[in-house]
Symmetry: C2
Subunit: 515 residues, 2 copies
């Protein structure tokens, strides 16, 4: 016979036993037994976000860096709703997230109290795995299964009525985590091998974990024997780059440019990437970026792609060493001077970013030049806006910094995007995280100006101008108000000084780059 234990304790204990170490939370009354369990059960550290999008974005950043889930703890339907936007980015990134949402006490829910919502339907929009608990006893197993499910590269959402959290049941030990099936998967390699040996012009489009070191090295082995081109998907979740690693071309955002890049290939092998499609639909343009006559071979999911690329390289009889001709050499741009522009910011960052940096890029139009400039920097990680849902950067940076406390995190961030989850700066300050936020302050939703121009729409003042204009934000005051030392720069020289200062000091910093 076991001792009595609360359901909340079972859940947390099982999550800890399954390897979950942190919880990004914004709890309410219906989550308080789980909050208490975060203290009564050792092994998990809780981080407060002052808005739920901070919590889910942090869980995304954490999962992208470590390949294992953080737990979230969100308050009922509204808490989930506030977190959905960044859960969407995490879903597109294939990030494991253990998403826990409190629910009203089971006997209270039918009374339709003010906070009651249809949590399950909303959770379905982002969750690959989803369950509402049925008892306190089940919470250990529920948590273990959720964590295991998340490791398939998806959001696993567990909805837990408050009485299941506080009720006591018999303690039957820790629920074992169901076996994680990733490493056992086999890839159908025959088609890819045949194409790569055929002499046809072929591109390997790499995505997911295939863009981390091990996958890239295997891709360069494949190139050594097959001569194919190596491309990166448009929005990598976590790509490792820099001197010594293969320097991949990245599929551009705008469809015309992407179609041009891809046009010459007779075959494309999707190694952890989705079949490329336009980001938006445009008049007179189809969704796919490949023609029907361009053969497409799907190798496997992004989460499995380190093994998938190794298997393919081995099947091709590739040499152990990669094609060294595509490994980037250490080559930094010179330090630019003069008034700031998007291009100058990108050049300067590429010139100064330290080895091991984690670059969270949500710079939208201002950062267009960063990727081509940064290929020869010391090795670093690049995290991008996988789902297109604005407000990822500052919170993703929180999670990356918690996951990798010894690496500097630099968030190259648009002013419009930052405002969606500006509350993340407070968490950076409270936790003393080594995050430098570089705000590209162009004071407009510039991407919409670009899209209006593409559509041939002109406007003059009026509602349109009003809806695109972001002037009147003082980022230095906002950053300081949230506890982050902040400064404003207008020239490349000033930016160089302030960036180096921020990187030399512990804790978060914000630099408003006035464009």
């Amino acid at each position: 016979m076991g001792n009595a234990v609360k359901g909340a304790d079972l859940l947390v204990r099982s999550a800890v036993a399954s390897g979950v170490e942190v919880c990004f939370s914004n709890p309410g009354t219906t989550e308080l037994p789980l909050v208490a369990a975060l203290d009564s059960v050792p092994g998990m550290r809780a981080y407060l976000g002052l808005f739920e999008g901070v919590c889910t974005g942090a869980a995304d950043g954490y999962g992208r860096m470590l390949g294992k889930p953080a737990m979230t703890l969100l308050h009922l339907g509204p808490g989930l709703a506030n977190g959905i936007s960044n859960l969407h980015n995490a879903r597109r990134a294939g990030t494991p997230v253990f998403n826990v949402i409190g629910e009203h006490v089971t006997w209270h829910r039918p009374a339709d109290p003010p906070l009651a919502m249809d949590i399950e339907s909303m959770a379905a929009a982002v969750s690959g795995w989803r369950r509402t608990s049925t008892s306190a006893e089940s919470l250990g197993r529920d948590a273990a299964e959720a964590v295991a499910a998340s490791l398939k590269g998806q959001i696993a959402t567990l909805i837990v009525p408050q009485d299941h959290q506080w009720s006591e049941c018999e303690d039957d030990g820790i629920s074992p985590m169901p076996e994680y099936p990733m490493q056992t998967r086999e890839f159908p390699l025959e088609d890819a091998v045949r194409v790569l040996r055929s002499g046809k012009k072929t591109a390997l489009i790499i995505g997911g974990r295939g863009l981390q070191r091990e996958g890239l090295v295997q891709a360069a082995r494949i190139r050594a024997v097959a001569g194919c081109d190596l491309l990166a998907e448009c929005f990598p979740a976590h790509m490792e780059r820099g001197a010594g690693l293969p320097d991949l071309q990245r599929i551009p955002y705008f469809p015309e440019m992407a179609i041009t890049m891809l046009a010459a290939y007779q075959c494309v092998i999707l190694a952890g990437a989705q079949k490329p499609v336009a980001f938006f639909g445009y008049k007179g343009m189809e969704s796919p970026l490949l023609r029907d006559d361009q053969r497409c071979i799907y190798l496997g999911d992004g989460r499995d792609m380190q093994k998938g690329l190794k298997d393919l390289a081995d099947a091709l009889g590739a040499p152990a060493s990669p094609d060294r001709s595509i490994l980037a050499r250490l080559k930094r741009p010179g330090l630019p001077e003069g008034p700031l522009s998007g291009a100058i910011i990108c050049t300067l960052l590429a010139a100064l970013q330290p080895e091991g940096a984690i670059i969270v890029d949500e710079s939208i139009t201002s950062g267009a030049h960063y990727y081509p400039q940064s290929g020869g920097a010391p090795q670093f990680s690049l995290l991008t806006l996988t789902g297109g849902s604005l407000g990822l950067g500052p919170s993703c940076a929180v999670g990356a910094a918690v996951a990798c406390p010894d690496r500097p995190v630099i968030n190259l961030e648009a002013d419009g995007s930052c405002m969606y989850t500006v509350q993340a700066l407070w968490t950076q300050a409270r936790e003393g995280l080594n995050v430098t936020t570089l705000i590209c302050a162009n004071r407009s939703y510039n991407i919409l100006k670009v899209e209006l121009a593409r559509a041939g729409v002109s406007y003059k003042g009026g509602n349109t101008a009003n809806l695109l204009d972001l002037s009147g934000i003082d980022w230095v005051s906002i950053g300081q108000g949230l506890g982050v030392p902040s400064t404003r720069v207008r020239t490349a020289q000033e930016l160089a000084v302030e960036l180096q200062k921020a990187l030399a000091e512990d804790g978060p910093h914000l630099i408003e780059m006035f464009l």
Copy 2:
């Protein structure tokens, strides 16, 4: 034969013809044709929110004040998700909202591009009426039907693929709005009349529009003839109060207090209010706040209650004039002095608030004393947190100020709550809205401390303390960073000076009340 017209123009023209005058928006690429239509079609003014929760909260505040819908314009699934939390509050308030969400081009959606989500399922969680458009031609009728549906006191969500917005079709004139059935509804009054004439101790629990002047006056007529007590629902959407109006007791938040208040009544008539239930479920406590032996009579919906109460008064043969004994007399508390506390803030606000003020109360624990203190103030409107979803106040204040530019708006706001939609301050500044934000800065999620104490949970530091603590926010810097003149006060005397100054000056102000 008509001329060619774009679907987006049809939608906006029809909305304008149906009485929609403002659009609270945060658009993206898939909404750009509708943005352009906001200029090509005259009659609607667009307001930018830097986060979608600002837009939906503003639409709620606007609708609560005017009883007619504002339009929102939100970007795909993430835009909707960010706005759901305040749509939930609007749903609980019975506020009409015309909620418009862009969707990918119809032929592009099946390609599952990065931003694609299941918008319909998420919209269902908050929408009483919901439709995805099927063509450009239908958009005029879609908008008219949506606006009509919203006037039933609900969220009407129209999802519009971008190609329907930009496509041209034949112009067949403005779609007429389906007739709004509110004024024709009949109320079954017999049971209520019988109970009120029976001599049984009866309470009239008033909600919805019954809490505005016309409803309150009718309720006081009923009291004059029947002697019943008049109670207000716990979280009024828009209640009119002050000298000359009936002074209603309000049902308390904590269930023990509410049960005590309601225990003596043999009968309860729900006049636009829901059957009272506890806000949360608690151990050993049932959800309903009324016993089974307390008879409950449902009079009708909150939106119809001005007519419902008049019909009931007439059926009772009530005199034209109300029971004057329950009309509040002008009676202000004296100006308090000393260090600030929640009670002192409430007293001071009641002492100084100007005639016609719109008080948006999201002060949670700090504002507990405001309601009893303010009954004798000059007449004002009180808007509260109907759905319990935090982050309503600053955005609801935006909408109320846009709706009623000649009335001062005072947002009594908790620091924790404000942080959820802090971006609303920017819209207040840009639009020069007469909103004074009073931040109750107690630097904690104090309601959770109260709930932990109620549950008998003690804690010492650790994760629990960490998750309840909000220290480190400088509201003066944040307010100024968003363009709102801001100041900090620590005593009642300082608050009195700054509040009067803020009310005397045009445009928004923020006062951090350091507790």
